[in-house]
Amino acid sequence: MTTHNNIKATNDFVIRFANINGSGSASANNLFTKVVFRLGIPVSAKNIFPSNIQGLPTWFEVRINEDGYLGRREGYDFIVATNGQTEQKDYHELLPGGYYFYDSSRKLPDNLKRTDITEIGVPLTNICNENYTDPRLRQIFKNIIYVGAIAYLFDMDFSVFEDSIKSQFAKKEKLIAPNIKALRLGYDYAEAHYAHVCGLKIHRRDCIKDKIMMEGNAATGLGAVFGGATVAGWYPITPSTSVIEAFEMYCKKFRVDEESGKNKFAIVQAEDELAAIGIVIGATWNGARAFTATSGPGVSLMSEFLGLAYFAEIPVFLADIQRSGPSTGMPTRTQQSDMLAAAYASHGDTKHVLLIPSDPKECFEMTVTGLDLAERLQTPVIMMSDLDLGMNIHVCDPIEWDDNRLYDRGKVLDQSALEEKQERWGRYLDVDGDGIPYRTIPGTHPKKGAFFTRGSSHDEYAVYTEDGTVYAKGMERLLVKWDTAKTLVPKPIIKSNNKSSAIIYYGTSASASQEANDMLASKGHQFDEMCIKSFPFGKEVEDFIQSHDTIYVIEQNRDAQMKTLMVNELGIDPNKFNEILNFDGMPITAMYIVDNILKSSNQSESLKVVK
């Protein structure tokens, strides 16, 4: 045994599972995470996976934190190493005092020698070979066995594992006993060989209350069902695919007509992202609620159509699940790097409404709100989620729905409204002064309300024009609509202690930023905080910036894209902003933010902080 100081912590540590993708480890790791959650302890999981189906390294990081800080944390206290390919790296990345859990059926290579960690070897392969004959089962249960072993090491309540297995396999009952047996094999081995070795504990708390744990993409798909979307055009792309998969799953559950067995939804897998958004535009033009989901490369392809929808004023709801760009970039790593591409997508003068969720519940709500806003404003609304939010499970408040909530279908003239209309109706005529004209849906009225939708310049009556004055008037009216949008989009969340310095963050940078501010407060540097929820910026955002002297903008991209939007749209002096930028594709951490804010504040002139 070694003589170092073991890390001792209860309900506050990080465990990293190093696996091979396609080996069935995901369900075992999820089981572990779910049990932590069911023990009442806040937990977050980050799946760091390759753009590959089988055979390459994948990691699953679980942070357990009873104080509720669930952003990613650097450093691993415990590593479950089951992947020979990454063994060297995993071994050396473990924190001093940490625990290295490995399959001791094979001896550790001689060059893996650390005296500052505890090695915990469990002969997973041997145990499997002794207990199972089917090679497939040997592989699957190897994962369950290590979960059983760590359940003992962390002193976790074993009955919660048993209950979880029972509910997971409620419909495949014959799988319950073998899974529990595998858990028990690991648990018993660890108890026999490693009693009182591990200083990390997971003990029951009551911190979860009624919270839930889900992926942002599932919440987005569910939001589209509640929000009344009936048509989805889409093209597969990581990390957005599971939005449409969730939409389809919930539609099959909630949207099949009982009598006829027919679908109250149409999901069309398109030939590319251009067609995906073309389908959405055709459907909303024709009076249905429609949406699509994509990621950065898809946004690039959809840009021409987004310009059409902006100029011809057609509702679009698009969920952009951002990943690391540019180009193909790192398709399975996260980033907030489509902000500018989305805000100003397409040629000519265009700008689009953005909604920025920070957790799954907000994904759900912003999808419903986005479908409303798209129709109210007759323009594209893009929800800026990302891979971290979309594909990882997050603890959040439960999904809520108010049955009195109505769908806001916006300004649509139905048959009787057209019938009563005496004056000439103009598709692009701003009668209310809010920049939003009235539209009609094809097939509504035999004699009135038909018009020709076009992306070419048009007058207030939708007639083609090359009269520059008429064109300019239409473009200016779109700015009136833009001002109206500022009053309708979700407001920022502000935490103020009347400090002169502030941090601004958005989306999945929220958890780490809030934790960073608490860490800084304990060192005597507290900041006011603003979490931006939408674009265009309303008065609250502008006022917050005006009322602070020094501002740190925390983002997960290289070019400080949100800062650019604030400078550009609000006319703020760029020197007022300090950039805290993380863009290595891993979710930002509180420690990174703290380090860089401290570094930046010590360097009075140099404001740019790069990792």
């Binding site: 889900m214 048509v231 590319d272 535009i281 055709g282 094809p442 020709f452």
Partner: protein, 350 residues
């Protein structure tokens, strides 16, 4: 050229069975070149919808970009139209059709819009068997950008610019056949007698109906050296047979087939009656249709008329099993699961 369309119509103008005059099917005045084949196609569309007793506002017209894609302004003025983006009409039409299966859809495109920039979308709207009439106004050149060769320009054909085209041409009827269209026809803008029954048949067809209409570009591609000029096309037509459209309810009035004619039944029981000619073959055989296009081409002729018809293919809505009620008419009560399921839903996330 005229720039105002007379609104005068004879007070006793003929009305169709649902009380509309032909004027109700017309659109704005065309701004295409005088003599453009596309205007004849627009006129044939007006004629067909009038005769088929379709309420004008129950049709949605969708197009891409180009001279051809301008034409939906010139017919069915009481119908909503959508001049979308270049080569992307099929996706917009797909979304529109998904939203409301009760309307009729007519998509208008050109040879550039379909055979080049829109080839991908064209392939996939055919595969889906969307219920739409898809008309390509095929002039073998890019008219709006002044006469460049298109992907349907035949090898060796030369436009006004003079240089013969060196690249293989795409036969859109063969493409449509290969990709699974249920109704494939080709016609000539100068042959209204053939085109109108083909459009009527397309209106009746349930599923994807494709009509490739050769439509000479009088300004850039009507030269003696072009294979899409009026003169060349007139001299090289080879029809599948003289064609007549017989609506279902008139069936009893027509003479029994006398051995020289052949019938093609459509979805509602209407029939297309073809006078047999030497190219007669089984119109429901994809293989024979392909063969016929090729063998007529070998004789340096252009096969026109109805090339293939199969009324039994399921359209997109049937394939994806949507409800019969248009999706755009479903209200919140029909779409939203409501708060009643929240407890169970949230429990599933714990």
């Amino acid at each position: 050229m005229s720039y105002l369309k007379s609104s005068f119509r004879h007070p006793n103008a003929k009305v169709n069975d649902i009380g509309f005059t032909k004027k109700d099917y017309e659109g704005a005045l065309s701004t295409l070149c005088a003599g453009c084949g596309h205007d004849s196609i627009s006129a044939a569309i007006v004629e067909s919808y009038f005769a088929m007793n379709i309420e004008p506002h129950k049709v949605a017209k969708i197009s891409g970009i180009g001279c051809s894609s301008k034409t939906p302004t010139y017919f069915l003025g009481k119908a909503h139209g959508f001049n979308s983006v270049h080569g992307r009409m099929p996706s917009v039409a797909t979304g529109a059709n998904m939203a409301n299966r009760d309307l009729q859809y007519i998509g208008v495109s050109g040879d550039g819009d379909t055979a080049s920039i829109g080839m991908g979308q064209f392939a996939h709207i055919v595969r889906r068997n969307l219920n739409i009439i898809y008309i390509v106004m095929n002039n073998g050149c890019y008219g709006l950008t002044k006469g460049q060769d298109s992907a349907t320009t035949d090898i060796g054909s030369a436009s006004k610019k003079g240089a013969p085209n060196q690249f293989s041409s795409i036969d859109l009827c063969q493409m449509a056949l290969q990709l699974g269209a249920g109704y494939v026809a080709r016609s000539f803008s100068g042959d209204k007698n053939q085109l109108v029954p083909l459009i009527k048949g397309a209106i009746e067809h349930q599923g994807f109906a494709f009509i490739d209409v050769i439509s000479p570009c009088v300004t850039f591609n009507n030269t003696a050296s072009s294979t899409k000029g009026y003169e060349y096309v007139r001299d090289h037509l080879e029809a599948t047979g003289t064609i007549d459209f017989v609506p279902h309810r008139q069936e009893l009035k027509i003479k029994q087939p006398d051995g020289t004619s052949k019938e093609v039944e459509l979805h509602d029981g209407s029939k297309l009656v073809l006078q047999k000619n030497k190219n007669d073959y089984d119109l429901t055989s994809k293989r024979e249709a392909m063969n016929n296009i090729e063998s007529v081409r070998e004789q340096e002729k252009i096969l026109t008329g109805l090339i293939y018809a199969n009324k039994d293919l399921p359209d997109t809505h049937q394939k994806i099993n949507t409800v019969s009620k248009p999706l755009n008419s479903l209200n919140k009560d029909e779409l939203c699961p409501g708060s009643g399921i929240l407890d169970a839903l949230n429990a599933g996330f714990r």
